[in-house]
């Protein structure tokens, strides 16, 4: 086995949390169950990964299998990298062909390898008609760098593609071309939607975030009863207002748990508005450029709780509440 492959497998195993190692190796299905059972998990992570590498060496693992292991790791563990959503469109009047996974994979590989030498492409299909594509980039003179990889998730029944770019950005046009050709699409466009959480992005674009309605209805009612003060010496004067705020919030955000995104960015290209006629900023013709960024570990839930907590007035600006409906979290606001 190649030293490069051995090192790659070793580093991949090191990245996996100890509790998940056996699970991922099982999914990988390269090492037999009997060997997995004998793995000593009580030792340090370095020793565990070394042991796995030794087992792989005996079975002559190649880069091809190691790439699959890498995909499984990315599919199972939460990666701290940003996913960007792209949408493909067919040419007007074009017919919808029947999708064939093998044809797609062949076509994608052919197109990409025709334009770029030295790319290493791996596929792994998952349930719900999705395919994960891993591309390691090289140059005409260098073998593919297995540590600089781009991940693509394509759901074949939809026009959406989720791409996690690596630091090498110059091959994006070729990648997009390969996707379009393989999927028989005419055009691909980057959407203004980005997040660390692939599942949330899927929930937003596939419009599945509001399907939890039934399950979340009762806990909400129970929660409301608990927070009522039973003490007769405390009286709440603005119950109606409180109820109005809760109703408006529910209308804007629904009763379900919001999909998880970490930021929303608004690029303002509007003229500076001021009442006074003096000052250097008044009466300026050029737009006053300004960037406003909201960030939070769970932005939409935080926005949802603003009005009930009394930190903002309800209803919130539609620029904030439209994020899941419009499937956007990067906005550019221009003069009307």
């Amino acid at each position: 086995m190649d030293e490069i492959v051995a090192e790659f497998i070793r580093r991949t195993i090191l990245k996996i949390p100890l509790a998940e190692v056996v699970k991922i190796l099982r999914i990988w299905n390269f090492l037999p169950e009997s060997q997995l059972k004998t793995l000593n998990l009580r030792q340090s992570k370095e020793s565990v990964s070394q042991e796995v590498v030794e087992l792989c060496k005996k079975k002559h693992a190649s880069m091809k299998e190691a790439a699959i292991l890498d995909i499984i790791y990315h599919q199972t563990c939460q990666i701290k990298k940003i996913w960007i959503v792209y949408k493909m469109t067919k040419a007007p009047g074009e017919e919808v062909d029947l999708f064939d996974m093998e044809e797609f994979k062949d076509s994608f590989k052919k197109v990409l390898q025709r334009t770029l030498k030295n790319v290493h492409i791996s596929f792994r299909e998952s349930e719900d008609n999705a395919v994960w594509i891993r591309v390691a980039w090289g140059t005409p003179y260098m073998k593919p760098n297995q540590y600089k990889t781009t991940y693509v998730v394509y759901h074949s029944q939809t026009p959406f593609v989720f791409i996690c770019h690596c630091r090498i950005k110059k091959y994006i046009p070729e990648l997009c071309q390969a996707l379009m050709t393989a999927g028989s699409y005419h055009e691909i466009r980057q959407m203004e939607l980005r997040s660390l959480y692939l599942d949330s992005l899927k929930a937003i674009v596939f419009k599945q975030y509001n399907q939890d309605f039934q399950t979340y209805c009762t806990p909400l009612e129970e929660r409301n009863l608990e927070t009522e003060i039973v003490d007769p010496r405390i009286i709440h004067e603005n119950m109606k207002e409180k109820e109005r705020i809760q109703r408006v919030t529910r209308e804007a955000f629904g009763d379900y748990v919001q999909p998880r995104i970490e930021f929303a960015q608004y690029k303002l290209e509007t003229k500076f508005k001021t009442d006074s006629k003096n000052g250097i900023l008044a009466e300026r013709e050029e737009p006053f450029r300004c960037l406003v960024k909201f960030s939070s570990p769970h932005l939409l839930e935080a926005l949802k709780s603003l009005a009930p907590a009394g930190i903002a007035d309800a209803p919130l600006s539609p620029l904030l509440t439209c994020i899941p409906h419009k499937a956007m979290n990067y906005f550019t606001i221009r003069e009307k």
């Binding site: 003060i229 405390i234 009286i235 004067e237 603005n238 109606k240 207002e241 009930p308 009394g310 930190i311």
Partner: protein, 175 residues
């Protein structure tokens, strides 16, 4: 010492309900058995008219401001004009919370000091999110409420205000 029949009525006014609720709970818990107190919480003035007939005469109004939330300041500013002028003779005080995390303040301290001076009312500072500070603030408010409700013989709300005046004066000189 306390008149057993007459209760003291306090009104807490602020945008952040959680803070008001916690403070109200602390106040009534401290008053268990000793004084009769009723606490009304409101998020803004004017109050809705549907419960007009059930409202007793209020002895003390506490405006709660959170330094982190500009919205709490605008709520208080829009509510102040609705308060009857007679309350400003010692029956109004401003309570400021969120002082400890100074770098994240959205409201300038000068704005609040000016507010207290303009309305000639007491200005209290306390972190309502920490239990021990909340308890000591509740104890102060109960004492002020007892004076404002006339439960302490020989001491009225106006007396209290004039005794506290030296702390307001230096601010007036700065302006």
């Amino acid at each position: 010492m306390l008149c057993p029949e007459r209760k003291g009525y306090a009104k807490l006014l602020g945008a952040e309900e959680t803070l008001l609720k916690q403070l109200a709970m602390t106040i009534v818990q401290l008053c268990e058995g000793t004084a009769k107190i009723q606490v009304h919480m409101a998020s803004c003035l004017p109050l809705p008219t549907d419960r007009e007939c059930f409202r007793p005469r209020i002895d003390l109004i506490v405006f709660v401001l959170n330094l982190h939330s500009k919205y709490s300041l605008t709520t208080v500013e829009t509510s102040l004009p609705h308060v009857d002028a007679s309350f400003f003779l010692g029956k109004v005080c401003f309570l400021v919370t969120g002082v400890r995390k100074e770098p994240h303040s959205s409201i300038h301290m000068d704005t609040i000091k000016k507010l207290a001076t303009t309305y000639h009312s007491l200005l209290l500072f306390g972190d309502l999110e920490v239990e021990c500070f909340r308890t000591s603030m509740a104890q102060r408010l109960i004492r002020i409420l007892q004076i404002c409700a006339g439960h302490v013989p020989g001491l009225s709300a106006l007396n209290l205000l004039s005794m506290m005046k030296p702390s307001l004066e230096p601010i007036l000189e700065e302006m």
